[in-house]
Amino acid sequence: MNIVLVGQPNCGKSTIFNEVAGYRSISANFPGATIQYTKSQINVNGSVCDLVDLPGIYSLSSFDEAERVSQQYLINEKVDVVVNVMDASLLGRSMELTLQLLDLKIPMVLCLNMIDEAEKKGIFIDTDKLAKTLGIPVVTTVASRGKGINDLFRKVIGTGKEKTTGIIQKNSKDVEQVIEKLAAAIDKSLDDSLPFVGRLLSIKLLENDPFFVSYLEQSHPELTTVIETYQKQLSKTHGRPSDAVINGERHALCLSIFEETATLGKPKIDMRKQVDKVLMHNIWGYFFLLLFLYLFFNAIFRFGAMVEAPFIKIVESSVEHMDVMFGTGSVWSMVAGAVINGFGGGLGIMLPYLVPFLFGLAVLEDIGYLPRVAFLMDAFMHKIGLHGKAIIPAVIGYGCNVPAIMAARIVESPRDRFIASVVAAMVPCAARMTIIMGLVGFYLGGTAAMFIYLANIIVISITGRVLSRMLPEVSPGMLLEIPQYQVPRISSLLQKTWLRLKEFIFIAWPLLIAGSVILGLVEYIHLTVPVNKLLSPVTWILGLPESTGITLIFGVFKKELSMMMLFQAVGTRDLLSVMTLGQILTFTVFVVFYVPCVATIGALYKTVGSKRMALIVLFTFILALAIGFATRALGWLIW
């Protein structure tokens, strides 16, 4: 049985998914946390089912990426039961999607999630009445606390077996007539191969949905005039465009269902609203934003540095021990040393920064602070040609650029998406964070590390501004739901941190060790010298030791490798004996800014296409050289 979770953004689909399938789908308290769908096998009372978590959609159309993914899945895949998850406190609005899902004629269960929130708001829903009106089972849940989930899936399995579809909700008579007439006109021309029902198609055509319109234009161009006739008929009788008529009708239907099934009581006084008086305040909001960022990075730095120092000593002495064991200069001492370097580096230099960082990011995400940041930053984002929503991919970018660039798809216009992707690729990810902390933070202090972040923000702002000047277009502006704060569950925070950490442990770390060994072998067969010679123009401009050249290549595969390889390339962990503070700073700055890693380049390719991807790669390389050179000059002035 294939069960699919569908619902509006931030209604808790992923939370439900994770509750039954184990933590696999990143959930967060902001709209649009899921962009691609996640699938998993689950076991409900002995029967094995597939469970799919679709990206959140406001309606069943195809105007943006998330909508397209969800719409195409529902149309093309074999779906046995749709679980329509909704935020019960937004019953009226969420119902609009429900009505469209009913038109799919797939067995369905309605899940009123966050029922506790609804009751706090004074909304009491008569679930029996609602179930009767819609003709489908209605279940209430509080997914974040695991409440009602078992009951939900029992109903889901039952519905899947009975294959009962809901009651299609009819619009007012004249609109319904137009829908039926158009459906009949199309039905005559179309064969049975159509993966969706005539009524749904008819409604979507009247709404001017791009996918359905182009679908018919290609397969049945003769129908274009028929469609236009009915669109015009509808807009003539109602005095507004046909899409507005359909949406207006649907909205009215939802409101009447809401009025029939929900009673409004007195809302409880919500302390969380008071919090926003400070955190979204025009002055205090910014004060706290800066304070949070300062505390966040300071905590990571302090924790990481505390662990890093003793670790370096241990690794250093173990490598020396290998030399004694296998004999200095032998191939075995080299391999063993490289393995220890890679393993110890990951354990001692990467993890101590990565773990608190990812955990902190999860906290910020789950509490629901990010949409507030988007609100506060909107005016500033306009200065760089974007709007507030683009701050979300940027913030996610501090964790990893790959999901950040994926998240850039929540930004509507292609031009904004491009700029947001460039910005997301330039944000120093967790890997680069470990380099900043591990090199600059460790050798030059936390303040210097903060300065790199600051410089990065300035450079990104200038880049954004230049790009927006080059690509003038009126941005559609921000429209973002600001969800309620939620108290994050520790288990969910830990699982999310672990999900992201796994990426490092199972992919980056082995690569780190392999990279160390490869570099060791390259050194052993004396290949490093020609490679470094090849890269000497770069190291020359940056004023770095020529031996660091080869590490820059490794950084393209995985940013962390650059730092780890640096230790190995210069032959010691005591960097100060071979590099000046200025050189360490220049190296870090260059690595932070130059070419994004392979995975990020791949994500860019998917989001903005090959040409723009190549442009971004070239641009970041030149930019990094320029900034690296400037840092060198700065270092020369200071030391």
């Binding site: 899409d243 207006g248 909205h251 609100f375 306009h382 509507e412 429209l479």
Partner: protein, 79 residues
């Protein structure tokens, strides 16, 4: 009649019209904002920042540009 961008804070108003094309209309509809709905501006960001608008019990941040496309009829408090 005025636009939402110029509406007073904490005063209930009714959406009279949504200017602009199908894109703006569609996006506002998705957020639950339709002609005839009541909205309240709760907060406005500095330096031309967005408005925080209460609609059907939820809060939505709306950029100034978009808020200028929402025509609202005077306050609804008389009802």
């Amino acid at each position: 009649m005025t636009v939402l961008a110029d509406a007073q804070k904490n005063v209930t108003c009714v959406v009279a019209d949504i200017l602009g094309g199908v894109g703006v209309r569609r996006r506002l509809n998705q957020m639950g904002i339709h002609v005839g709905d009541t909205v309240v501006v709760r907060r406005s960001g500095i330096m031309g920042g967005p408005l925080l608008v209460e609609i059907h019990g939820s809060e939505v941040a709306i950029g100034r540009g978009m808020a200028r496309k929402i025509v609202v009829g005077g306050d609804d408090t008389s009802k």
